[in-house]
Amino acid sequence: MKKLFKDAYDYLDERFHLEDLVHFMGKKYVPVHSHSIWYYFGGVSLFFFIVQVVTGILLLFYYKAGPDLAFESIQYIMSKVQFGWLIRSIHGWAANLFILAAVIHMFSVYFEKAYRKPRELTWITGMLMLFLGMGFGFSGYLLPWNELAFFATKVGSDIAGAVPIVGEPIKILMRGGPDVTGATLSRLFGFHVALFPGIFTVMLGIHLLLIQRQGISEPMHFAHLPQKEKKTMPFFPNFILRDLLLWLMMLNLLAILAVFFPAELGHKADAFGSAPAGIKPEWYFLFMFQSLKYLPAHILFIEGEVLGILLFGAAFALWLIVPFWDRKTARGEQNKLITYIGIFVIMFIIVLTILGWVV
């Protein structure tokens, strides 16, 4: 067996010079410190994305987009296709866990200030991938064409439509017309399986390339440590194998969730039916949805909801460009304000999400 692997490796090495790559990875080190655990969430996010791609392709074999076929095809996948229920359930759970892992990864990078020079572009691509992940969630939510999906898309696109000037064209672009119809389904299906994966792959490529090129970010206090006190571990094989171990644990988690909490289907969407009671968006949109509910109808001369959307838009934009306005960290100084803002944002998201869940 060992000889077989060696022969295969030699065969590939002769053609693709794998030794260079192994040598490159062997020279790469990952800092070891009290917050090293957070380094793994990038890899976990990648794992969930790979799961999404694989299960998504499998679902594509049977899924049929269209208001007359979508629900029925999912019903068929869930009841007739061998392990169809498992694939769909894993796809659903991995989507949620991807967002969760990516959010944790994003906050860990934020609090470690790992976005600082020279990793501004890594941060930007990462943030764009997180936004795309939410876009995946929103577009994929409608695909089963059930009641909940239909009305959630209606509410979601209505909120987008409330943005001044650009809102209405965005809403029309999302819906493929003034209302949520079969055209919306075709459109979001296109976004979900072609447009978003295409952009995401490019972003992911840049993101990974930059990580390999620039290495793993060291915590700020490492700069003041003498070289011999800087604890590290080799990226290959140590970090990669630890990552793999975590991936296996995540796979176990996915299997357990998919079996015990399989994806539900509900009732087929009916445009003339009434919206189901207590309709709520996916958990990662819940804090925004709940915040908008608390805003008064009018604040000064502007509608409360519009102001809320604009504020969220501004907050996301500021968050996206944090490497450029956090000059203190760029200079290598501690910026506590950034930490306080991060803590406030996490508290805000947690509290509003809980309120959205229970109220």
């Binding site: 009841s79 140590n238 630890r242 171990l245 644990m249």
Partner: protein, 493 residues
């Protein structure tokens, strides 16, 4: 002489008293004094209840009835109105009939809402010429010869009502002017009904037009407030037919409404407000109301239950029932108190209607066919119950089984079809429906539901195996990492 003087004095005294008090219209109503000489309406008015109660001509026509000067009496300054026309006629009547105190003054206890009712009625709303409503009080009550409704001479006395209404309603030309689609044969049909025949014989108790439609407040049959609106018909009929005292002498039962109200038809109409459900008139007719004869029962029921009637007519039971002169549908289902057809009616049990005629010793073929048919339907019920239980079980386990659940509806459909097919009394045809359509569906559903339940356990065991494998793999990897790191540490040291 003294006696003559006393008599003459008394006569003058009485005449003077009468003149002063105006109690006798002949003497005080100068209109009547003149018009009596002319004859015509005055002669009619003599018989009029108003005349008898002391109402003068001026009561309706205005003017000064005390003046013997025609010019003065019929002058505008005296309030003379002449002959009332159009809607003014009813308003003139209402002038007194709307006022309770006025009616009481003349010793009448009649209701005072007739004009109000008339205005809300179909007659008070419609107009043929756009100027006046179709009906005025005098259309039915006459003008100068109005008598009490209890007086046989009144056009609205029960025996006369059909002809009074028929004056317009049997006049096709007149009816065309405002409702061309309305039938004009009501009176003709009525005369063929039991009510109509008894009415023609002089019995005022049986229902005539006003008994069902009302009098002043007649509304269109589609009006929900109409006494003959579909939902109200049973109660309207029951006013007489459930009154044992009123119906005494007619020798018919008075429990029809009580039976109907708890019947499948009654519940559909009265509780679910399904206006498509049959009311009394659906089977008995309305204007030509009469109990359906033995031979026509299946035709009457067949107007709605067409397939059942067809199957029955081509079944062997048809001849047998005809021979025994049995009312077809009624023999098994009864008449007013028809209960929902359950499987208990089928077979040879104590509640089964088949066993009324078929026993193990009498008409045995039917006995065994009934027994077999019952066993088929019992099997379908048991099988459907099991399928539902398994589907529920699978659903509770979170399995996607909606397609099977939807398919199982066909079994229910087969049961409904079986209810119809039973009227063919053919074992094979019944079997084709119950077994061919029903049991085949339930059997397939049972298999699918069982597969779903099995699949649930397969998933659990599968998960257990996969978790075990992945955990072992993870543990092996963990040990491998430890081994590598140990080697690296040894190398470094």
């Amino acid at each position: 002489m003294k006696k003559i003087i006393f008599f003459t004095f008394t006569i003058f005294l009485l005449a003077g008293y009468s003149l002063l008090n105006g109690k006798t219209p002949e003497s005080s109503d100068q209109c009547f004094v003149c018009h009596e000489q002319l004859g015509g309406v005055a002669d009619q008015f003599k018989k009029d209840i108003h005349f008898q109660k002391g109402v003068s001509c001026a009561g309706c026509h205005g003017g000064d009835s005390r003046s013997d000067d025609m010019e003065k009496a019929m002058s505008k300054s005296a309030g003379f109105l002449g002959i009332p026309k159009g809607d003014d006629i009813s308003l003139r009547c209402a002038n007194c009939h709307e006022k309770k105190e006025m009616m009481q003054k003349y010793g009448s206890h009649l209701p005072t809402n007739q004009l109000e009712l008339l205005k809300a009625s179909v007659h008070g709303k419609l107009s043929t010429n756009g100027k006046e409503k179709i009906i005025q009080c005098i259309t039915c009550h006459n003008a100068h010869g109005i008598v009490s409704v209890k007086n046989p001479a009144s056009p609205v006395y029960p025996l006369n009502i059909p002809n009074t209404c028929g004056k317009c309603h049997s006049n096709a030309k007149f009816m065309q002017t405002y409702n061309p689609s309305l039938a004009v044969d009501q009176v003709a049909k009525y005369r063929t009904s039991v009510h109509g025949m008894r009415n023609a014989k002089g019995d005022p108790k049986p229902a005539e037009c006003a008994s069902c439609h009302g009098s002043h407040g007649i509304r269109a049959t589609k009006d929900t407030k109409s006494q003959v609106y579909a939902l109200n018909i049973p109660e309207t009929c029951s006013k007489c037919h459930s009154d044992a005292q009123y119906m005494a002498g007619y020798k018919i039962p008075t429990d029809q409404y009580a039976k109907y109200a708890i019947s499948v038809h009654g519940k559909a109409l009265l509780e679910k407000h399904d206006v498509g459900a049959p009311a009394c008139n659906s089977c008995h007719g309305n204007h030509g109301a009469t109990p359906p004869g033995v031979e026509s029962i299946s035709k009457v029921c067949g107007t709605c239950h067409a397939l059942n009637a067809d199957l029955f007519s081509s079944s062997p039971h048809k001849q047998a029932f005809d021979k025994e002169k049995l009312p077809e549908c009624e023999t098994c289902h009864s008449n007013h108190g028809i209960m929902p057809a359950t499987k208990a009616m089928l077979g040879v049990g104590k509640d089964a209607v088949c066993s009324k005629c078929h026993t193990e010793t009498k008409s045995t073929k039917g006995y065994f066919v009934a027994k077999k048919m019952r066993s088929y339907i019992d099997s379908l019920d048991t099988s459907e119950e099991l399928a539902l239980k398994l589907i529920n079980d699978a659903e509770q386990k979170g399995m996607e089984i909606s397609e099977t659940k939807f398919k199982l509806r066909d079994a229910h459909q087969a049961k409904l079809e079986a209810r119809t097919m039973v009227h063919s009394f053919s074992e094979q045809k019944f079997k084709d429906v119950v077994v061919g359509k029903g049991l085949s569906v339930t059997s397939a559903s049972i298999v699918e539901a069982k597969e779903a339940v099995d699949n649930y356990f397969f998933r659990r065991y599968g998960l257990l195996v996969s978790v075990l494998i992945i955990s072992l793999l993870s543990f092996a990897l963990y040990l491998y990492i430890k081994q590598i790191e140990k080697k690296q540490a040894e190398k470094q040291s």
